[in-house]
């Protein structure tokens, strides 16, 4: 079964979607989208280095994104212009990565695969890595869920109940680094952030609790992966971007639905009053 490239692609896509979506909820709630994007960009440096020295791309990516995550956690509370710092480090790494790659002959075409992903070429090892990453992230989220929520709402409130907000947010950035590393093969460094935030954003208007949002985001993410994969097969389009297009379409639909539902309930309310 795993010999079919479509089956492998589906397993990889769903694995990444399932890991990214619940974590993406925290990215949205904590307004970390820009940090996530910078981490993903920085990961390209890891990819280039691994191509140059011929070791696992996954290792290179996770090493650089963990480095980025640690750097940012260190800088937290010390620097006033964190956002700018993310941007500088993220794009510095992206640019360096691109320059480094130009020294290696023959990988220029391959580079595109790391920018927008190449899900159809995932190997069995890639799938294993993706699902290991997924398990780590889900365990982390299940275990720290309430603590992370409390830290998101107010760090002093969390500290007063014995939590360490810094450690919690570091755990979150490690999760983010893992998602970036496993997502590179599937949607690439340019689009991985969309797998984090678009399903979460789509789920927002459908739910009333954080837990439901994480569940709905996961479902939407997986649906996008499957539909996007099929669409790319039917229309012969690049798979990563197709998955993101489907996710965006779902976002637009849920947004429209919630808008109309609001209008409708307003009309009903008016009728009741009159």
């Amino acid at each position: 079964m795993l010999d079919d490239f479509m089956v492998r692609a589906a397993l990889a896509g769903m694995g990444v979607a399932l890991a990214a979506a619940p974590l993406g909820c925290f990215v949205v709630w904590r307004r970390m989208a820009y940090f996530g994007e910078s981490t993903a960009h920085a990961a390209l440096l890891g990819v280039s280095l691994s191509l140059m020295f011929e070791f696992s791309v996954f290792l290179g990516a996770i090493f650089v994104s963990l480095l980025m995550a640690s750097l940012v956690t260190l800088a937290q509370g010390r620097s006033l212009f964190l956002d700018t710092l993310f941007g500088v480090v993220g794009h510095m790494s992206l640019a360096t990565g691109l320059v480094v790659v130009s020294f290696i002959s023959g990988v220029r075409i391959e580079l595109m695969a790391y920018l927008i992903g190449d899900i159809l070429s995932v190997s069995k090892t890639d799938i294993l890595l993706i699902w290991i990453g997924l398990v780590i992230i889900l365990v982390l989220l299940f275990w720290r869920w309430s603590a992370l929520l409390l830290c998101t709402l107010n760090e002093d409130l969390a500290a007063s109940s014995g939590l360490n907000p810094r450690r919690e947010s570091y755990a979150l950035t490690i999760g983010l680094a893992i998602v970036v590393a496993v997502g590179i093969k599937v949607v690439g460094v340019l689009l991985i952030i969309s797998m984090l935030i678009i399903p979460a954003a789509s789920a927002r208007s459908l739910v009333s609790t954080p837990e439901k949002m994480a569940v709905f985001a996961s479902l939407i993410g997986m649906l996008s992966a499957i539909l996007g994969l099929n669409a790319s097969y039917v229309f012969d389009t690049p798979t990563g971007p197709s998955i993101v297009c489907v996710a965006s379409l779902i976002f637009i639909i849920t947004l429209a639905l919630s808008f109309f539902a609001e209008q409708f309930s307003a009309v009903v309310k008016k009728k009741k009053e009159s």
Binding site: W29, L153, L157, A159, T209
Partner: protein
Amino acid sequence: MLKSGNNIMLIEIQNLNVAYGRKKVLENITLTLSKNEIVTIVGPNGSGKTTLFKAIIGSIPIKSGSVVIKQNLKIGYVPQVLNIDRSLPLTVERFLKLAKNRNDHGFLRAQQILDSDDLLSSQISNLSAGQLQRVLLGHALMNEPDVLLLDEATRGLDQPGSAAFYKKIEEIRETTGCAILMISHDLHVVMSASNRVICLNGHICCQGEPKSVAASPEYASMFGSKVEGTLALYHHNHSHEGKGV
């Protein structure tokens, strides 16, 4: 001034110094909080009030001195605000149940504070300032705390609103016996309920019973002469109510 003896010490701070980088924020703070006490901290912006709270809950490193918290002391913390993004769906009930070491008694207390059952299913991001303050106070009561820490809990409330809020605080103290340490700007309202007032401006300028602090020159120089009027007004009410301090 400090009645010790059979009072149980809950928080004991001695010669506390805290600095951010080279900037000294708190200097030589010595302060105790005993069971059943209500202590209010007043001081201008940037005087280190919130930093003092952070030192108590252990969220910032201290430079020297000591903060001793009674073993197994349950703290209820009421922050100024929640960083709640509209993208985070959160009902009041779910927020209350996020509290660590909560119990059913605490939840009942919290519901009493909310004053309305409808509020439980409301989204936090849709609450008014007054409702949010009640919810935050409710959250702090979920673990049946021995100490309540209130950081400018009435910010954003109008005068009747904050008066009602402080009445609730006094009720909590009376029914549960928990000690209360609060930061406040509503001097004239706060003074009534407090056993002790501490004027903070990096260091402790003066402290004591509300009346003596209000009369002290340090207090007058810190807040100007305008407050004296409001205080006088307040004192008038106070003697009519006849509640001993």
